[in-house]
């Protein structure tokens, strides 16, 4: 017999946390410390040798961070997680575990512009090669598979277009190719979509966005689904082969179905160094406690605003998967029945110039390069987040030059609509 299965909101408040053993503090304390005393030399050696559970040094792990990790792992239905300094740091750590110089991975073209940049330029200098595929043409994933392919990377809801990716179809391609599917679930959060339920082997997040939710802290996380067999075919030696830096330990053999998360910590984070600060872990953890409430409000507001924009005479098109009739509405109904998220794009009949004008006239929306804040945000992706792409690549990634991106906050929707209304009124 097991006890009753707690719901998502209960996990969002409780998973990973318990009263502090020494003080009884009920809120998770901020363990603002770099290091932790050992009981004796043997304890130190067994911690360093990965034989005991415990803390050594905050670059490898921290008690506040550990609560954050277990909480997100529980919300995503994973076996374990590892938090990092940012979403981008999480991506570097994941790929360092999987790729050797000369290896390849396949990525969906519809991605956050910063990820397109990271994959195209930074990763190239490590000898990791990206092959692009189009989520609107599922065969393009299968066509991109080669013997050097080591992973497939997609966003569940893509930034900036808010388009929904067919996770199960791409998971089937990954399974056939014998490689893990990595899903960036930043825009959806586990409240809207749980990629592991649809076949993802690894989930990554920028915690900076909806999970933290208040626009105050950078953070990233890697969630291990525990589903991938890293030792098969010897394609992932970081996990299957003896590790010289740990006297020959084999990570998968020792840690079983949470081996990937452990490898990311004891090899990736330890050696690359992008640790999250305990204070950021605390702020993000506090944010997650209200994730279900915030996501409900974000989605309700986004839908109302998208519907209002569709009816506005100055608006040419609204791309929001939550609208019936949208190209991605069927996928939204399947994967995100609670709401299609709160990031979407639209274009004005006046084109690029009218978009730039609109951004400058808004008074409540903030013009900045972020999403997933309590505050409503606006940006023109083609000249900012996606500016490094040429026009053809901008269109393919969902950032055509005439598009304006909104990230809808949790203010009163009437006030957001009034702000858009005054900004769209000619001559005011």
């Amino acid at each position: 017999m097991t006890d009753r299965d707690p719901g998502f909101s209960t996990l969002a408040v409780h998973a990973g946390a318990q009263p502090d053993p020494t003080t009884g503090a009920r809120a998770t304390p901020i363990y603002q410390t770099t290091s932790y005393v050992f009981n004796d030399a043997d304890h130190a050696a067994s911690l360093f040798g990965l034989q005991s559970f415990g803390n050594i040094y905050t670059r490898i792990g921290n008690p506040t961070q550990a609560v954050l990790e277990e909480r997100v792992a529980a919300l995503e239905g994973g076996t374990a997680a590892l938090a990092t300094a940012s979403g981008h740091a999480a991506q570097v750590v994941v790929f360092q575990m999987l790729l050797k110089p000369g290896d390849e991975f396949i990525a969906a073209r519809k991605l956050y512009g910063g990820s397109i940049n990271q994959f195209t330029h930074a990763f190239k200098s490590f000898g990791w090669n990206v092959a692009w595929a189009d989520p609107d043409d599922l065969d393009s994933f299968e066509r991109a598979v080669t013997p050097r392919t080591k992973a497939i990377f997609i966003e569940s809801i893509a930034n900036p277009g808010g388009t929904i990716t067919d996770i199960e179809a791409i998971a089937a391609v990954a399974r056939k190719a014998g490689v893990p599917l990595i899903v960036d679930n930043t825009l959806a959060t586990p409240y809207l979509i749980r990629p592991i339920d649809h076949g993802a082997d690894i989930v990554v997040h920028s915690l900076t966005k909806f999970l933290g939710g208040h626009g105050n802290s950078l953070g990233g996380i890697i969630v291990d689904a525990g589903t991938f067999d890293w030792s098969k075919d010897n394609k992932y030696p970081m996990l299957s082969q003896p590790r010289p830096e740990y006297h020959g330990i084999k990570i998968q053999e020792t840690f079983g179905n949470f081996a990937f998360a452990i490898a990311c910590r004891v090899l990736g984070l330890r050696d690359l160094g992008p640790a999250i600060s305990p204070f950021n872990s605390f702020l993000i953890l506090t944010g997650i406690e209200t994730l279900p409430l915030r996501m409900q409000k974000h989605c309700e507001n986004a839908k109302a605003i998208a519907e209002w924009l569709v009816a506005h005479p100055a608006v040419a098109a609204v791309n929001y998967a939550g609208l019936s009739g949208d190209k991605y509405n069927n996928l939204a109904r399947k994967y995100a029945p609670r709401g299609a998220g709160a990031v979407f794009t639209f274009s004005l009949k006046g084109g690029y110039d009218a978009g730039v004008e609109l951004v400058s006239r808004l008074k409540l929306f903030s013009h900045l390069a972020n999403i997933g804040d309590t505050r409503s945000l606006v940006i023109h992706p083609a000249s900012t987040t996606h500016s490094q792409l040429d026009d053809a690549a901008k269109i393919k990634s969902g950032a055509a030059p005439d598009l304006v991106r909104l990230s809808i906050g949790i203010e009163d929707k009437e006030d957001l609509i009034a702000d858009l209304d005054q900004a769209l009124r000619p001559g005011s």
Binding site: D5, Q18, P21, F53, T79, A81, L82, A83
Partner: protein, 194 residues
């Protein structure tokens, strides 16, 4: 008995109930998983007996090696088998000859032999396959949470600080296996070639 996933209460009952554990295939090499598990379980207060014919005359963390289960001079509650799936049956056969009969046969992470499990169960023993007792103890006590692992348990109680030799409470509220159902399914597909 379903051996694809286990109720937490089943594992909890075993780990709370047994006191002495004979570990077949225990290694003195301090990077082997059997060494990790042996050391951890000893630290948590279990009476550990290392079984490995290759190391008789030596001892593991102060406990002398014995060559086989036959050579143990005291009752053993659980036999923890650190061998490949293909070497499980002989160890189970040997365990079945012990008096008193051990209460539990535990096969390590990665090891599974359904025929051996059936034989042990027919003799009234409890069986766990493809699990690590260290990981399960760490999970149910939430000690493993230091590593960002999903313990699949919740508690609003203040836990004591663990010290050397201390048994930890395994009585936290369990979430049903659903939380990591994906990992359990994947493990089943791996062992079940159909």
């Amino acid at each position: 008995m379903n051996h694809d996933s286990y109720d937490d209460d089943y594992i909890r009952g075993i780990l709370n109930g047994v006191k002495s554990i004979a570990m077949v295939g225990a290694s003195p090499v301090n990077v082997r998983p059997s060494y990790f598990a042996f050391k951890y379980l000893a630290q948590r207060g279990y009476d550990m007996i290392p079984v490995n014919p290759g190391h008789v005359g030596k001892s593991l963390l102060g406990k002398p090696f014995v060559a086989s289960l036959r050579d143990i001079d005291r009752p053993v509650d659980m036999v923890d088998i650190f061998r490949n799936s293909s070497n499980i049956m002989p160890a189970v056969d040997e365990a079945l000859k012990m008096t008193p009969l051990p209460k539990v046969i535990w096969m390590q992470l990665g090891a599974r032999d359904d025929a051996a499990a059936e034989k042990a169960e027919a003799a009234g023993m409890k069986v766990v396959m493809n699990r690590c007792p260290k990981i399960e103890y760490g999970r149910l006590s939430s000690e493993i949470s230091w590593m960002g692992v999903n313990s699949r348990t919740l508690s609003s109680k203040r836990a004591p600080m663990p010290t050397q030799g201390m048994r930890l409470s395994l009585g936290r509220t369990s979430l049903s296996g659903g939380a990591t159902a994906a990992a359990d399914r994947a493990a089943k597909n791996r062992t079940d070639p159909s």
